[in-house]
């Protein structure tokens, strides 16, 4: 008889333990598993000599990961003066959190105006000549290279400041 009781005891306790384990598993509150990359928001700030059609952010990304995909945006810039202007750009940020982590490339046609970090983009880029009423598209690419650290959940709002200087045209 004792040999008959022992299995009941063992199986009963094992069943109870299994039920408790099943209950805990069923009532788990799962982690969301969402990624928390870096966020970059870029808006253009243009002077009166040039026109940028978009107001607000022309680039907005919330999930940049080190070694992940880059994000691209286009910023059309139009000369609204009666003569040619030299346009250059630089970045203004409220914080330095992603200064060294985020890389930015600015290209117009086949020409690279800048390819640097956000910190590097705090300096003016090389100039872009825009003739009267000419529109050129500045293509912006932003990414975080592999190995960049301390980027999780960081956010930066970048004002891409444009500077335009009227160019003297030599008359013949």
């Amino acid at each position: 008889m004792s040999s008959a009781i022992a299995p009941i005891r063992t199986v009963g306790i094992a069943t109870g333990l299994a039920l408790a384990a099943l209950m805990v598993l069923a009532l788990r509150v799962p982690a969301s598993g969402q990624s928390l990359g870096a966020g970059v928001r870029m808006a253009a700030v243009a002077p009166g000599e040039v026109h940028v059609p978009r107001t607000g952010a022309f680039l907005k990304v919330g999930g940049l990961e080190p070694g992940g995909k880059s994000v691209r945006a286009a910023l059309p810039v139009t000369n609204v003066t009666r003569g040619p202007v030299d346009v250059r750009l630089r970045a203004r940020m409220g914080n330095h959190d992603l200064d060294r982590a985020v890389h930015v490339q600015l290209r117009v046609g086949g020409r690279t105006l800048a390819s640097t970090t956000l910190a590097g983009l705090r300096r003016w880029t090389s100039s872009l000549r825009l003739n009267k009423a000419e529109e050129r598209v500045v293509r912006v690419r932003a990414w975080i290279p592999e190995g960049a650290q301390n980027t999780t959940g960081r956010r930066v709002a970048v004002d891409l400041e444009l500077d335009a200087k009227l160019t003297k045209v030599s008359r013949r």
Partner: protein, 196 residues
């Protein structure tokens, strides 16, 4: 007449008991199994509450319905300690009430981002309409709810409110139960030994 009837009744009773014995044995086996299952379940729940303590987690009683239906009032939520930047939008986290440091709040992360040496959160209870914004130094810790045990919080709260007395009483009752079960097993074993 009655002298003849008595042995006949006794025989009938004996026959009835004989017929009922297998069913009674089955019932006793089922009851024993149910008791063992309940004991195993209680042990399992005890483990589910105690083991997390060894792994930077602790059980907390849910006192409001702000997280219904994910967490109900009276549930025990087992909360694991994490760095703020290990949380993610959608996680259910426990943090100190920004307006009352003695109070803990458990709500779902709606948005979060790092800012300097801090992590800024926007959280909201699933049953709430208003969010709360708060921040914590990234070197500090918050909690993330791992699992819940429904309604057990009421019992824990009651035990806590009545102090050690209830705990001792509960312990004594549990001990009595264990001793009683042990005596049943022992009797069974003795019976079987004699039978053999």
């Amino acid at each position: 007449m009655t002298a003849l009837a008595t042995p006949r009744r006794t025989r009938l009773r004996l026959r009835l008991i004989e017929h009922a014995m297998p069913a009674l044995r089955m019932l006793r086996t089922l009851l024993r199994f149910a008791a063992m299952t309940a004991t195993g379940f209680a042990i399992g729940i005890g483990i589910a509450l105690a083991v997390p303590l060894a792994f930077h987690a602790r059980p907390l009683v849910v006192l409001s319905g702000s997280m219904e239906p994910t967490l109900g009032t009276g549930d025990v939520s087992v909360v694991r300690t994490i760095a703020p930047l290990d949380a993610r939008p959608g996680d259910v986290v426990t943090f100190r009430d920004p307006d009352n440091a003695d109070r803990l709040i458990t709500h779902r992360v709606r948005e979060m981002h790092a800012q300097g040496g801090s992590v800024v959160f926007r959280t909201r209870g699933d049953a709430n309409t208003a969010s709360e914004d708060w921040q914590v130094a990234s070197s500090q810790e918050i909690g993330r709810v791992v699992y819940r045990i429904p309604k057990l919080g009421w019992a824990l709260m009651y035990a806590r409110s009545k102090g050690l007395f209830v705990l001792m009483l509960g312990g004594a009752l549990a001990l009595l139960l264990v001793l009683e079960l042990a005596s049943i097993w022992r009797t069974e074993e003795n019976d079987s030994d004699q039978g053999a």
